[in-house]
């Protein structure tokens, strides 16, 4: 059975290109042009993944994210223009899985979809607890971090931070989510904590900390671990 993707996008051209591109990759594609149409489709013909455009004519993408999250862990990828930054971040904080900044290439979209689908049904399967890419290994369950085969020593806070990113499995984790999960809800605005600890973490995990290859900054949004 092929994977069903719902594209919520009000621009006809973009909708049609995305439909063609995703169909060519073997996805079954549903489209909706408004919040109401999307809500109806989600109700009657639930897809496996949603690509949600911001700035729909009849309402707020947040409605859709909330409606989906109240029922399932269905991956949601938010597509937004640069000026919708704030809305995008609030949707990520509310539980959207990842984002794309318009204009984006089809290959970027496919990469995001692949990452998102990897976690399909995370409510049933155990969450990702292991990251192995290149010379870096992070095993959350075993409390072990290695670079080029040598064990690294992380402080408990650094380890919590790394573990949070590993569990996201390649999806972006927003500043707010990281601060809340590692330092606690009262620190969600203290982005300087992140700057400092991410710096320390990179210094240990990356060969060239100023040009990271694993632990990427999503400027203005958050961080992610690169997965292949």
């Amino acid at each position: 059975m092929s994977i069903k993707v719902l594209i919520v996008e009000d621009d006809r051209e973009i909708r049609s290109v995305l439909r063609t591109a995703l169909a060519a990759e073997g996805f079954e594609v549903l489209t909706a042009v408004s919040v109401s149409e999307a809500t109806a489709l989600l109700e009657h013909d639930p897809p496996d993944l949603v690509v949600l455009d911001l700035g729909l004519p009849d309402g707020d993408g947040a409605q859709i994210v909330r409606a989906v999250r109240s029922r399932s862990a269905m991956p949601i990828i938010v597509a937004s223009a640069r000026h919708q930054e704030a809305e995008k971040i609030s949707l990520l904080d509310e539980g959207a899985d990842d984002y794309l900044t318009k204009p984006f290439g089809v290959s970027e979209l496919l990469a995001r979809i692949r990452v998102a689908l990897r976690h399909r049904g995370t409510t049933l399967q155990p969450a990702t607890t292991r990251y192995a890419r290149g010379d870096l290994l992070i095993d959350v369950d075993a409390y072990r971090v290695e670079r080029a085969g040598r064990p690294l020593h992380l402080t408990p806070t650094e380890f919590k931070l790394a573990a949070r990113l590993v569990r996201a499995g390649g999806r972006v984790v927003t500043h707010r989510q990281l601060l809340a999960d590692v330092w606690g809800a009262e620190h969600v605005l203290d982005t300087h904590y992140l700057r400092l600890y991410m710096g320390q973490l990179r210094a240990k995990l990356e060969a060239v900390p100023s040009e990271p290859r694993h632990l990427l900054t999503e400027t203005g949004v958050g961080y992610r671990l690169v997965v292949d």
Binding site: T157, T191, H192, Y193, R195, M198, R213, T217, T219
Partner: protein
Amino acid sequence: MKSSMETDRSRAWRGALVAVALLSAATVVCAVLDAEISLMSQAMIDLLAVVAASYLVPRLVAVGTAIGAVAALNFFFVPPRYTLAVEHREHLIALVAMLAVALLVSYLSTALKRESAAARESESRAGQLRSLAIDLAAAGSEDEAVDIGRRALLERFAGPVLLVTSVDGVISSGVDASEDVRRALRCCIDEAAVLGPGTGRWPGLDSWYVPLGAHGRVVGAARIEPALASDTIGREHAQAIAALLAQGVWRLRLLEASLAARAEVERQHVQATFLASVSHDLRTPLAAIVAAASSLEAQRSRLGDAEQGRMLAGIVAEARYLTAVTENTLQLVRLSAGGGALRTEWQSIEEIVGSVVGRLRARPSGGRIRARLGRALPLVRGDATLLAQLATNLIDNALKYSEGAVNLTVVQRGDRLLLSVKDRGSGLAPGDESRVFEPFHRGRDASDARGAGLGLALCRAIAAAHGGSLGVSRRARGGCRFTLALPVAEQPAVEVLP
């Protein structure tokens, strides 16, 4: 000018007392010296009193003094004494002649007195107008000019004085006056005519209403008290002050209008060049996209795989370039509009540069980037998206205008964080150091490179919005160096966790 009927009368009474005193004194002196001097000397002493009185007392009293002096001389000293009868014909002639002389002297000296007073008065009025003209010429604002005018009027008139300005016949707001006063002010402005006592217009009013300026360009009006119908000179002086004030206000308004007009022309010029530059930057890549896409549409069957691939890659590259131009333009407009509230948070410059370099490395020319960052760099407060865009534009620009390595360094120097991007390109033309940041400037070999123009203008706007600066200098052996200096604030406190 500051007079009334009441003070006139009391002055006459005082004058009469002075005259009586003078005459009595003269008569007493004559009586004391009666045995030693002749009637002629006594007449001279009396005449002296008349001359003195004509200087000291009002005119009518002075005339009375002259008559009184002759009568007193006749009564006390001309035989037969103690009667008003005159014995000798010679004495009668002398008395008549003396009366004539006394009246003439009195008349002449009061006239002289009046004229010298008038001359002093008019000199002081002229002096006031002169200094008013000088003060008004130095006034920098309409409020200041009006204030100077009000002070000048209050120097001459007891007040109260009300000064209002108007634009196109509409009185400026914030004037505290009754409806009657407002109506009179409006009428005075509309008709550009003086109203009030002695003017023949609205003579029943208790003050003068003097327009500021002549017909067609009245800039306000003054309400002046006290206003006497007979005080023509006072009214004319008030009009002179009003005329000077009107000129001053008019000059300031013209100046303001011409400055505004110049600013508007400037703004339109900037806007026009900005639009021309943006539309050029948008049109060129669009032309490339349309050419490649239409060629693929029409000639696909005749194009080889390699050619098709090249065209497709071109379309993608041009579209990315369009995205960058659009992004730069929007951010620049947002920043120069002063709005768009910077989202400032503590940022790690290492992180921002890292993500920018990482992204640019993926491009074909990205291999030329060499980044070197200092250790333990401080955090800076700023908007990560904008700072990333600044770094992107600077590196982009260096890659575009040079063939060799592009060196990026970040170091801390005192309370500044310096980010430099250096290339070995063709460098800057002398004098281009500030022009490269103008929104429409196209650098060096404008013919073969796309305008980075807006990109650098945006960089400078971003630097300024962060309280920093961005400059460019020519390097000794070719190429140039862009340096961003950001202020380093006191670092935030961090609760240290293990």
